[in-house]
Every structure is written in structure tokens, then in C-alpha cells.
Amino acid sequence: MAWTRDDMARRAAKELRDGYYVNLGIGIPTLVSNFIPPGMTVQLQSENGMLGMGPFPYEGEEDADLINAGKQTISELPTTSYFSSADSFAMIRGGHINLSILGGMQVSETGDLANWTVPGKMVKGMGGAMDLVAGVKRVVVVMEHNAKDEKKVMRECSLPLTGKGVVSLLITDLAVFEIDRQHGMTLIELATGVTLAEIAEKTDARYKIAPGLAGR
């Protein structure tokens, strides 16, 4: 019983803390905003120049001057501020964002992330992803554990890197891994009904198993 996209987003939301400033990538990470615990204040950053990103606008209230980094129309909040792209990435590069939750194509056991290009396919560009993984204090990657029959949790990424040694936590549809530059990768949670054997089979990376999980 692998986790659904919502399950993965719900799990990622557990990484939020009150008062955090957070940047969410496109795809499953965007869903995380649906699972912010009640009473917790989290400000979302959009790297095109906004802090305090609100939900999609009501129909008829779309504003061409108010979009997120995914180019979708969004809305303002009472906490909102706007700034330039240079100021936005000064904020990101300077380590002021507490948490970034991003999608991934491959993650390595040393925390390398590949998520921007596949050789031979049309290169679309890395956008702000390289800046986010290099600058944000804690980077959480949310992705499918495998793509068809290809492994994605790797000893070493085969795809071009977005960042080297940047991922702190990996959430897949099957499991959660902590990654520490010194101590490597540790499997810390399993999706309901997923076994250690299944993870072992579907994972190229080497990892320790957290004490609570042994024997499952």
C-alpha cells in the first residue's frame, strides 16, 4: 500500500514548524499547503518575488500581475510583501528560508539531487531549483520511489545534478529517509504495509535502518 500524493504531502507537512518561511516546488510539494496544521503560521515564499503567498483567487479576481513561480494566478494575504528577483534570491541564497520542499528525479545516499534535466530530452532550464537547494537551510524532496522499473534512490545520481549534498529528508510513496552528510542515509519510516524487503529491492542507495523499524 504505497502512499498517495496526498499522503506524501501530509507527511511532508510534518516538517513544518510554527513561524517557518517555506518555499514549495511544483507538483506534490504544492499540495503541502493543504496540510498546514491549524493554528500553525507558515509563510510561503514564491521565488518570483513574494512572501505570504495566498491561495488561488476567486473566479473573476485573477490578476495578471499576481502569479506564483509556476505562473499560476494566486492571491494576497495580510502578511504579503513583494520584492525583486534579486532580493528574492538574496533571501534564498542567504539561508533565510527555513524549508524547501521540492520534487525530484533522483536522490543519492549522500543527498545529491537531480531534478532539472534528462540528457537527450529538450532542456527546459533549472529555473530557481539550483538556488533553492544550495541556499535553503533544510531541503525535503518528495518523489515516487521508482519510475516504472527504474530506481531513483541511488548510490550516485546518473542524471545531471541540481545540487550536491543538499537533501536532508527524502519522502517517497514507500518510505522516508533522513540524509546526513556525515552519517549517510537512514530509513526512518515505512508507508503502511510496505516491508523492509520491498524497500531493499527497490532502492539502489545504501542506507541504515532506524532502530524502531528493524524486523518489519
Binding site: 500581475d65 505562473k71 513583494y82 525583486s84 534579486a86 534564498i92 532550464g125 530557481g128 544550495a134
Partner: protein
């Protein structure tokens, strides 16, 4: 000496030459200097290097200059939304230099601020680092990136006064202020033009020193790339 010109074409007159580096503000279709780009197209100038975060959607923004093959090279962070871009790039007709978005913004900021080079962690250990100086600071790897200036910067602002003081609106600010600082000549199209003194000097985003020419474009329809909404709650 007035900075205000009657049309976008007039505002660009005498500035454009083949082979120039053109900086353009905007993010996707948001805050792009549409009228100025159309005037560049109509001028017929070619072999341009365009520096812009994106190429906008087909039929808008810089993609207009791709259609007419006036651009030989782009420096951008993401071009995934533009079909004509993909076509020309895959055929080898267009050169592209991808910069991480924050590196692009900072290179232009540095160019405008007289900083020829700086170090950033972004891209260290990736393809982006190839051929660049790497250096360790406090145990972490950084790469050296260089400042970037343009011959002409094209900017879209919400409001300007006749001195060229600019105010941007919401996320249409994006790359516009930083582009304004890094053009040898900066030309701005504005939705609202007022007299000097009508903007609170504490609300000005870009001081007039960065703006050489202004054109008033009051009637432009702004495009939305992805119209996303939520239903109104029942009363």
C-alpha cells in the same frame, strides 16, 4: 531634457544596433515590456543576445523576436513554456546559456552595481560549475560568477514620474528593477505616467537615475498564462 517619448519606437530610436545585448524584465508573461519588444521587432535589428528569465509564451514577449530570428543567443533560467524556442534550439539555430535563476538575477545586480565577479554556492558540483573557478569558504564549495551588463535594458513598470522614478506592481516587479540598473541605456514602458513629485519618495522602487527613456503605454492588455481559481464559498 525630457525623458518621456511619444511611442515605443521613438523611445528606442537611435539606440538599437545589430549584435547588442538586450536585457528584458518579466517573469513568464508577467511584467514583460511588451510594447518595447514589439518595437525592437519592428526595428529589424538582429543577432541579438537576449537576457531574460524566460522567453514568454509563443506569440508574446521575446518569443516575437525568436519568430523573426532576431535573437542568436539567450541567457535564461527556464524556457520550458515556449514552443518556438524549443524548435530553434533543437535545430541548433539558437544558442542558449542557462543560468540558475538566482545566479542570473545576481549577475545582473552585480553588473549594475559595478561588481565584476562574486562567489555563490548555487551550482557548485553541477554542470553549471564547469569551467568556473571553484573556491572553498568556511568548508563549503562556491563557484565564481561574473557580473552581466546590457547595451539596452527594456523594463515594464506600473507607474513612473517624469523624472523616471519607478514603481512596480505585485509580482510584475520580478526582474524589472535589476534589469533597469544594468542597461547602458534603460528604456521603460509604464502603465501610469505622473509628474515628478506625485510619487511618495519612500515608495519608489527604482530611482530615476537608472531610467533614460520612458514611454506611456496605458492600454495594454496583460496576458495570464495559467488562470487558476478557487470557487467562492457558498453564502
Amino acid at each position: 531634457m525630457s525623458k518621456v517619448y511619444p511611442t515605443a519606437a521613438a523611445a528606442l530610436e537611435g539606440l538599437l544596433k545589430d549584435g547588442q545585448i538586450i536585457l528584458s524584465g518579466g517573469f513568464g508573461n508577467c511584467g514583460i515590456p511588451s510594447d518595447l519588444i514589439e518595437a525592437v521587432r519592428d526595428s529589424g535589428v538582429k543577432n541579438l543576445t537576449a537576457v531574460s528569465n524566460n522567453a514568454a509564451l509563443d506569440g508574446t514577449g521575446l518569443s516575437l523576436l525568436l519568430e523573426t530570428r532576431q535573437i542568436k543567443k539567450m541567457i535564461s533560467s527556464y524556457v520550458g513554456d515556449c514552443r518556438i524556442f524549443a524548435e530553434q534550439y533543437m535545430k541548433g539555430e539558437l544558442e542558449i546559456e542557462f543560468n540558475p535563476q538566482g545566479t542570473l538575477a545576481e549577475r545582473i545586480r552585480a553588473g549594475g552595481a559595478g561588481i565584476p565577479a562574486f562567489f555563490t554556492k548555487t551550482g557548485a558540483g553541477t554542470l553549471i560549475a564547469e569551467g568556473k573557478e571553484e573556491r572553498i569558504f568556511n568548508g563549503e564549495a562556491y563557484i565564481m560568477e561574473t557580473g552581466l551588463v546590457g547595451d539596452i535594458a527594456l523594463v515594464h513598470a506600473w507607474k513612473a514620474d517624469t523624472e523616471g522614478n519607478l514603481v512596480f506592481r505585485k509580482t510584475a516587479r520580478n526582474f524589472n528593477p535589476v534589469m533597469a540598473t544594468a542597461g547602458k541605456v534603460t528604456v521603460v514602458e509604464v502603465e501610469h505616467l505622473v509628474e515628478a513629485g506625485e510619487i511618495d519618495p519612500d515608495h519608489i522602487h527604482t530611482p530615476g537615475i537608472y531610467v533614460q527613456r520612458i514611454v506611456h503605454v496605458p492600454d495594454r492588455v496583460k496576458l495570464i498564462e495559467k488562470r487558476t481559481t478557487r470557487p467562492r464559498p457558498a453564502k
